[in-house]
């Protein structure tokens, strides 16, 4: 699984620019299920199982990742940008970025030597940051980059024991889980959506859920694990190596309590998400049409929305196993 995760994470797919990730996912699933691409670029897949389900189940992961979009090219050739999705300014300062998939640049800044007093302590306004691609004029820059092009932060893929360090774990871990489930034989029919535009407001999943019209949904995503030095136990949200993270409530959803309890008590390693924060595609899926019973299973990721997020493969496997279990429990009518 780790090799497939690497292939997924190194692809660039800023929200609205998910083409490369979509093509790769299709190459992985095309021999294992039926699928179609909708108007927003979502992949909606149908997996034929051995049995007819008593409830129609949709399992969702999002294709997109946070990134940058070029908004302006200065006379001096520097590029101005906006963030696509939430990125902490600290994670942008002095980083290498790849613009439009081929032009290397760096986010430049004032050398620390020239910063005085509070300027050293406080993050700058993200609007003051700029990308330097090494040109000296707008004409040179425009030959390489256009306004509207996306950029992603460059990163490596490093594994160390069960840990993986790379970008875009949110939500390529979810894509990995869905691909893995689609490749296996299924007990019951189910639908899978690889959705777009999650990071800019859960937009792809909204239309995917409308189209699939499920009775129940399982949302697979990465969630913040703050189990690091200096963070009080009460604020750690969840912990790596402790299994799948099951949410009772986050910033967008109050989850189906029966599903929540079933997921926590399945015998597969799982933990509660101990914070009411963040949100994921469950926020729109559970409100689709007349309402959809929804459970969120997440992989605990440290340093999420940065070029160097960390996950633990044992947790990814727990989420995969628990997803399969929940599909079967719901589709069979036991839940």
């Amino acid at each position: 699984m780790i090799e497939l995760l690497k292939q997924l994470c190194i692809l660039d797919g800023t929200s609205g620019d998910e083409g490369a990730v979509r093509e790769f996912v299709i190459s992985q699933i095309k021999d294992h299920c039926e699928y179609k691409i909708d108007n927003l670029g979502n992949i909606i897949a149908f997996k034929k199982g051995k049995k007819e389900p008593s409830k129609k189940v949709l399992i969702d992961a999002h294709l997109d990742e946070v990134g940058l979009i070029i908004t302006h090219i200065e006379e001096s050739g520097f590029l101005r940008f906006k963030t696509v999705g939430g990125i902490d300014t600290a994670a942008l300062m002095f980083r290498r970025v790849l613009v439009n998939g081929k032009t290397l640049g760096v986010i430049g800044g004032k050398p620390v030597h020239l910063c005085e007093g509070d300027e050293r302590k406080k993050l700058p306004d993200a609007d003051n940051l700029y990308i330097d691609i090494g040109v000296s004029s707008a004409d040179e820059a425009k030959a390489l980059v256009s306004v509207g092009d996306c950029a992603v932060m460059c990163s490596d893929f490093i594994s160390c024991g069960d840990k993986v360090l790379t970008k875009a774990l949110d939500d390529r871990v979810g894509c990995l889980v869905l691909i893995d489930l689609l490749k296996q034989d299924a007990e019951y029919d189910f639908y899978a959506s690889f959705s777009t535009q999650e990071e800019v407001g859960l937009r792809g999943a909204k239309v995917a859920a409308f189209a699939v019209e499920p009775d129940a949904a399982i949302v697979i995503d990465g969630t913040t694990a703050a189990d690091v030095a200096g963070v009080a136990a009460a604020k750690q949200v969840c912990r790596q190596g402790e299994g799948a993270v099951v949410s009772f409530m986050d910033g967008a959803t109050s989850y189906d309590r029966e599903y929540y309890n079933a997921a926590l008590n399945s015998g597969i390693k799982a933990q509660s998400k101990c914070a009411v924060a963040g949100g994921n595609n469950a926020g729109v899926i559970h409100l689709s049409r007349g309402g959809v019973r929804t459970v969120a299973l997440s992989v605990p990721c440290r340093y999420i929305h940065t070029a160097n997020s960390v996950c633990d493969m044992r947790d990814v496997i727990a989420v995969r196993d628990l997803s399969k279990h929940m599909i079967e429990q719901i589709a069979s009518g036991k839940l």
């Binding site: 090494g134 913040t224 690091v228």
Partner: protein, 332 residues
């Protein structure tokens, strides 16, 4: 020797504290042209010329980084920075920890609502996650060094980006100069010195100058290049050629000579005028022993002390041309 290729190697290598990889590369190159010795990070190469007069050409070869001050039971490190580093840029940055083996770590990035840092004034609040958990203590010890691990890469044209271009750009410039001087009749003795601990306060250059005992020195370093948020009176222009230093602590005749050579030969150059100390090794070399006439030439560089520093290879070539003329005069 290819300047860019050598600079990429030097940038990717590490010289800090007890780690001397970049110095080994530099010593190997320099030994082809000069009688070279290496002591830890410091590399000194002598080229014999006419008479007893000695010019020292100096560039520091150490780099900014961190040193481990604590390792907790879950594998998180507390570090102290060695040299000025913008703490605000550290969260979620990958680094190499030079323990018993090289370990990739990442500075923790905790969102402010979960108790993450909002005031970047204390590096001890910024922990490094080693991914090793409780095994970290088997591999990493207090006192181990931590460095940026970005590999050098091309930007557009002749500009490149990487870590430690401050001051491997200066080192590679002097290596190229040594090659060009090699086999030439030199008007005086030349000693190349690649020094240690500049980033901790210009320490290595003081002891190196004491040992070399030069009559004259030219310090080669990097200085601030233009960027949107850098005040234009504080910087030179990237790709604008050698930045010739002028300051009360520098020898005026050397500064003047450098400017006149650049003018006469239509070399691109710019002046960098400072009101006193220069923040470079020139500050200590000039007051070594009974005093050393000292000049300063800088290569313009953006994003200093980050791992996305930017320089223009053409600026290195231009500085090398200038120093070659300075030494060989009409014979260059």
């Amino acid at each position: 020797m290819n300047i860019k290729e050598t600079l990429f190697k030097l940038s990717n290598a590490v010289s800090i504290g007890n780690i001397t990889d970049a110095s080994v590369i530099a010593a190997d190159k320099l030994s082809k042209y000069a009688k070279t010795t290496q002591d830890g990070i410091t590399v000194v190469g002598e080229m014999q010329g006419e008479g007893k007069y000695t010019l020292m050409l100096e560039a520091h070869i150490d780099e900014v980084g961190f040193v481990v001050t604590d390792i907790d039971d879950k594998g998180f490190l507390t570090v102290k920075n060695c040299g000025g580093i913008d703490l605000r840029s550290l969260p979620a940055r990958a680094v190499t920890v030079h323990g018993k083996e090289k370990v990739t770590g990442v500075f923790c990035a905790t969102p402010p609502h979960l108790g993450g840092v909002t005031e970047y004034d204390d590096i001890s609040a910024l922990k490094i996650d080693t991914l090793l958990g409780e095994k970290a203590k088997e591999v990493i010890s207090v006192g181990d060094f931590v460095t940026f691990n970005t590999k050098a890469a091309d930007l557009c044209g002749s500009r490149i980006t990487g870590k430690s271009l401050d001051n491997r750009a200066g080192v590679v410039c002097l290596l190229e100069l040594a090659k060009r001087l090699s086999g030439k009749k030199l008007p005086f003795n030349i000693v190349f010195a690649f020094t240690d601990q500049e980033e901790l306060g210009c320490r290595g250059a003081g002891t190196a100058a004491f040992c070399v005992s030069p009559d004259e020195a030219i310090v080669l370093d990097v200085s601030f290049a233009d960027a949107p948020d850098v005040p234009s009176n504080d910087c030179g222009k990237l790709s604008g050629g050698a930045m010739i230093g002028m300051s009360p602590i520098l020898d005026k005749a050397i500064s003047k000579k450098l400017v006149s050579i650049a003018k006469e030969n239509n070399m691109p150059y710019q002046t960098e005028v400072m009101g006193g100390r220069t923040g470079t090794n020139g500050d200590v070399i000039s007051i070594s022993k009974s005093g050393v006439k000292t000049g300063l030439v800088s290569i313009p560089l953006r994003n200093m002390h980050s791992d996305v520093e930017i320089i223009d290879i053409n600026d290195i070539e231009n500085v090398c041309d200038l120093l070659q003329k300075y030494i060989l005069g009409g014979n260059a």
